[in-house]
């Protein structure tokens, strides 16, 4: 017994070092489980406050760019106005529903919440974006996030009271499905950790016709994004040697270097769909 104590005393520093190092590596590996418990509540709230102060300064210098992107978004919306369309033929006229209840609200599937980007990184291998809006302002985990021009940015992974952390497309664990606008083939987006704004799309069969300049949109299969949100434009197509798939590199539609505002998308049917999936999972087990 005495020898054990002597041993501990003699090598205390080394043992302490091993303990701390082991704990750090444990944090790296068991990231998500730990993360949800402690990080999202205290650390996010704290670092969020600091980041917010800083972003106020930075925001001022980017007013011009922010304005440009808002003008572009406005232009898009103006083009969707009903007044822009002429209906020469009565057969193609849209018929308004005459039910007394508010039919628009009943069928609303997606709701957009605007949020200010408070922190943003592109240089690390796992990049995050922090939004200055949290669970107290209706944001939830799993919501998709797009930039003002509907370019896909990422998915919310945690929310604290006033802040939300978004796992951006530039993260190694990010798995969002993307679809070729022309052919309709669906694949998975992933990032190799190298160049920001350049992302790969895998799982597209070699039979698909892909050329440089093709558009990639969100597939609408997940509950996070509606179908047709812009993801990017194909930059490079190389056939994979070992599989029957293409490896497609594309330039993201959202510019991750200068995000100022973002929209979180709330899907009203998420709960329904998830409940249904849980039921199926239980049955198959």
């Amino acid at each position: 017994m005495r020898n054990i104590f002597l041993f501990i005393r003699r090598y205390f520093n080394f043992l302490f070092f091993l303990l701390l190092q082991g704990f750090s590596i444990y944090l790296v590996v068991h990231y998500s489980r730990y993360h949800n418990a402690v990080f999202s509540n205290t650390a996010n709230q704290l670092t969020g406050k600091v980041n917010e102060q800083y972003s106020k300064v930075e925001y001022y210098f980017r007013l011009k760019k922010t304005n440009d992107s808002l003008v572009k978004a406005n232009e898009k919306l103006y083009n969707k106005l009903k007044a822009d369309f002429e209906l020469p033929d009565t057969t193609s006229k849209t018929v308004l529903d005459t039910i007394r209840v508010d039919s628009i609200e009943q069928h609303r599937k997606y709701n957009f919440f605007s949020a200010k980007v408070v922190y943003n990184s592109v240089a690390a291998q796992n990049n995050f974006i922090v939004l200055g809006r949290g669970s107290a302002q209706q944001l939830k985990e799993g919501m998709g996030v797009v930039d003002p021009n509907n370019g896909v940015v990422g998915i919310i992974t945690e929310v604290s009271k006033d802040y939300a952390v978004v796992m951006s497309l530039l993260h190694k664990d990010s798995r969002i499905s993307g679809k070729l606008l022309k052919g309709g083939e669906t694949g998975t987006l992933s990032w190799d950790g190298k160049t920001p704004n350049i992302i790969s799309l895998t799982g597209i069969p070699k039979s698909a016709k892909v050329i440089i300049g093709d558009t990639i949109i969100s597939s609408g299969f997940s509950t996070s994004f509606p179908k047709g949100m812009m993801i990017g434009i194909v930059n490079e197509v190389t056939p994979e040697k070992s599989t029957s798939n293409f490896l497609i590199k594309f330039k993201s539609a959202a510019n991750f270097y200068n995000l100022e505002y973002a929209f979180a998308i709330d899907n009203k049917q998420t709960e329904d769909i998830n409940n249904l999936l849980d039921k199926v999972k239980k049955k198959t087990q």
């Binding site: 520093n13 701390l20 190092q21 704990f23 750090s24 944090l27 790296v28 990080f39 995050f128």
Partner: protein, 177 residues
């Protein structure tokens, strides 16, 4: 200013500079400069080794909180805090220099070269361990090696510039009388 207050200010300043200045600079995908760990290198000679590690842990954890993925910087900081005393013992020129001065610098380490070896080795270890943990999941050895070497070079340059810009006045304290 007392050592405690000075170090608390340094802690906050280094984290701020790292998060809001260096992390915003995108030089190249292969080069990510770090400077915040200079805080650990500048800790006083006479501090206990256990305390050094605890403080390094706190520094790394603060850094990780801003990155939203705990563990990476914590592991790297604890590692260099553990190795630091061994290096100081190897590099310090004459007996007692570490009691005559307060903390490592060009002057107290006895010249440019020993201090550069000291910072260079610790920078390399810090970057190597950090990028190794990050690259673990990507698994590309060349990418990792080149990134470590290039980033170490840039960080070292930054450290030298910092040393030249902010000269730390250090009193020569003798305990012979």
């Amino acid at each position: 200013m007392s050592t405690l207050v000075k170090n608390i200010l340094r802690f906050a300043l280094f984290i701020m500079v790292q998060v809001f200045v260096l992390d915003k600079i995108h030089l190249h995908q292969m080069v990510t400069p770090y400077i915040y760990f200079l805080f650990i290198l500048w800790l006083p000679f006479r501090m206990g080794r256990t305390w050094q590690m605890i403080i390094a842990f706190a520094l790394g954890f603060a850094m990780d909180s801003f990155r939203h993925h705990p563990g990476f910087h914590t592991a790297a900081c604890v590692l260099i805090a553990y190795i630091r005393p061994f290096l100081i013992n190897l590099l310090i020129p004459q007996e007692g220099a570490d009691t005559n001065y307060e903390e490592p610098s060009f002057k107290s380490m006895g010249g440019m070269l020993p201090y550069l070896i000291f910072t260079g080795v610790l920078t390399f270890i810090h970057h190597g361990w950090l990028f190794l943990l990050e690259a673990w999941q990507f698994g590309n050895i060349w990418y990792f090696l080149i990134k470590t070497l290039l980033s170490t070079a840039v960080s070292l340059l930054l450290i030298i510039i910092t040393e030249l810009l902010f000269v730390r006045k250090q009193k020569f304290r003798t305990n012979t009388i």
